[in-house]
């Protein structure tokens, strides 16, 4: 489990034996021949067997929400539906889905085609924003004979536009915004999940439940992809067994002086870098699979303020509490970083006020990000209140798109 595979070609590596990233140490991109050589042929499973397998391995969606994938299969009862591979990867710090789509597109297609065959879906739509990913998947579809029902759609790159319901609305010709009513996509015959989820399906159909469970934890078997960034000497995409202790991942990524981590992306949460914390739901929730490391070289509170301002700008301004509440929250955090004591209770109150009050989870996610940050950065906040700052620059280790 502590063996680290070197990856000469790109910033993709693994702790333990890679599954999704298998072969990428030797190939820049796995074409269909190389893909079959690395992974073997794709077994056919009917609906009942695939559902049982997914139940057995307790596979959850890898886009952030963590919904049980077998339940989606069960809920999609309508014939001739559509399988949507959400490869929009709108989480700014995340690069794992693009890595899969660019370098192992056949694995993602395998999973989507296996699900489509099992539920009798007529179409497979791979929704991507990244041009290189779109090109790789398009080429992969041409390389195989079993992908006639698959196609690529380019979609917007906005943070909220990547939410599954917004994405499907956009694919149907509407705006890339979440609808106001609760929509169960599966009732409309649409089974949508994140690109990595389908790659996991492709791996599972080949391994079977027992071998899939050879790694990971009992509750969460298998591996997961993480995008690691921030103050590390080996940033990139890494495949780890679920439940790996944080300390091992940080050491492998070359985090010399971790002071705080942000897990799950910008809808995720801040944690102290305790080495024994496990990367699993009962430890650190991984959300969209992002792990960002902050060291002592940057002003953590300033980093928090910067991302909060970005989150506020991502509101689609459909829902009042998000439209007005997130900018208020961003002003609070900025004022706090500048040393205004009254800004702390104001931020806590505004975070509470936006939580759960939107049609999508953007305000909830932003509230969690800020609340957990404020909680962790207590001593930083004290320093800022006492001196009007901490004297460190805001280096932008938490990257936001400009």
């Amino acid at each position: 489990m502590t063996a680290v595979l070197p990856a000469p070609t790109a910033r993709a590596w693994a702790i333990g034996a890679p599954r999704l990233l298998a072969g990428l140490d030797r190939h820049a991109t796995l074409d269909h021949t190389a893909h079959l050589a690395v992974h073997g042929p794709l077994p056919h499973l009917d609906r009942a067997r695939l559902t049982a397998l997914l139940d057995d391995i307790a596979l959850t969606g890898r886009g952030g929400a963590g919904f049980p994938f077998a339940a989606k299969l069960r809920a999609t009862t309508r014939e001739h539906g559509t399988v949507v591979v959400n490869g929009s990867e709108s989480e700014p710090a995340s690069f794992k889905d693009r890595t899969l789509l660019r370098r192992a597109p056949h694995l993602v297609l395998d999973g989507a085609l296996a699900v489509a065959a099992a539920i009798g879906a007529r179409r497979v739509t791979v929704a991507v924003h990244d041009p290189a990913a779109a090109a790789a998947v398009t080429q992969a579809i041409r390389q195989r004979r079993d992908a006639a029902r698959a196609g690529v759609e380019r979609v917007d790159g906005g943070f909220v536009a990547g939410e599954a319901r917004a994405l499907v609305r956009r694919l149907g010709g509407g705006p890339a915004m979440p609808p106001g009513r609760r929509v169960h996509l599966t009732e409309r015959g649409v089974l949508a999940s994140n690109a990595e989820t389908f790659a996991q399906v492709a791996v599972a159909t080949r391994l079977g439940a027992r071998r899939f469970r050879d790694t990971g934890t009992h509750a969460e078997p298998g591996t997961t992809l993480l995008t690691i960034g921030g103050a590390v000497s080996r940033p990139g995409v890494v495949e780890i067994p679920l439940g790996t202790p944080l300390g091992i991942v940080l050491a492998a990524a070359g985090a010399a002086d971790p002071q705080a981590i942000v897990a799950g992306g910008y809808h995720g949460s801040w944690h102290a870098p305790l080495p024994q914390l496990r990367l699993a739901r009962d430890g650190i929730t991984l959300g969209a699979g992002v792990l960002l490391v902050l060291d002592g070289s940057t002003c953590a509170l300033g980093e928090l303020a910067r991302v909060t301002a970005w989150l506020a700008a991502q509101s689609t301004r459909q829902c009042g509490p998000c439209q007005f509440g997130l900018p208020a929250l961003a002003r609070d955090v900025a004022a706090l970083a500048a040393g205004a004591a009254a800004a702390l209770p104001a931020a806590q109150r505004h975070a509470h006020l936006v939580d759960g009050r939107g049609t999508c989870h953007h305000p909830d996610g932003a509230a969690q990000f800020v609340t957990s940050g404020l909680q962790l950065l207590q001593s930083e906040i004290d320093r800022h209140l006492a001196h009007g700052g901490c004297g460190r620059p805001v280096r932008g280790l938490l990257e936001v798109p400009s």
């Binding site: 106001g180 459909q318 006020l353 009050r357």
Partner: protein, 65 residues
């Protein structure tokens, strides 16, 4: 269980619902409704349904879950 719910994509924060149902609905800093987590019982039906019907943005609704 029935409860009051807001379609946030429609709500413009007119505030009529808070006037009509002061026990259930207050308004936040920007005028948008804050709904108390109280179930809608059968005896509340008349007043609650009236507020739902009068919402100028058709954003207030009763949902069953």
């Amino acid at each position: 269980m029935k409860s009051l719910d807001v379609d946030w994509t429609r709500c413009d924060g007119h505030g009529l619902c808070a006037e009509l149902l002061p026990d259930r609905i207050t308004r936040d800093d920007w005028g948008f409704p804050v709904i108390a987590p109280i179930a809608v019982a059968d005896e509340d039906n008349t007043s609650v349904r009236r507020a739902v019907a009068l919402c100028p943005a058709l954003a207030l609704r009763i949902t069953t879950r």
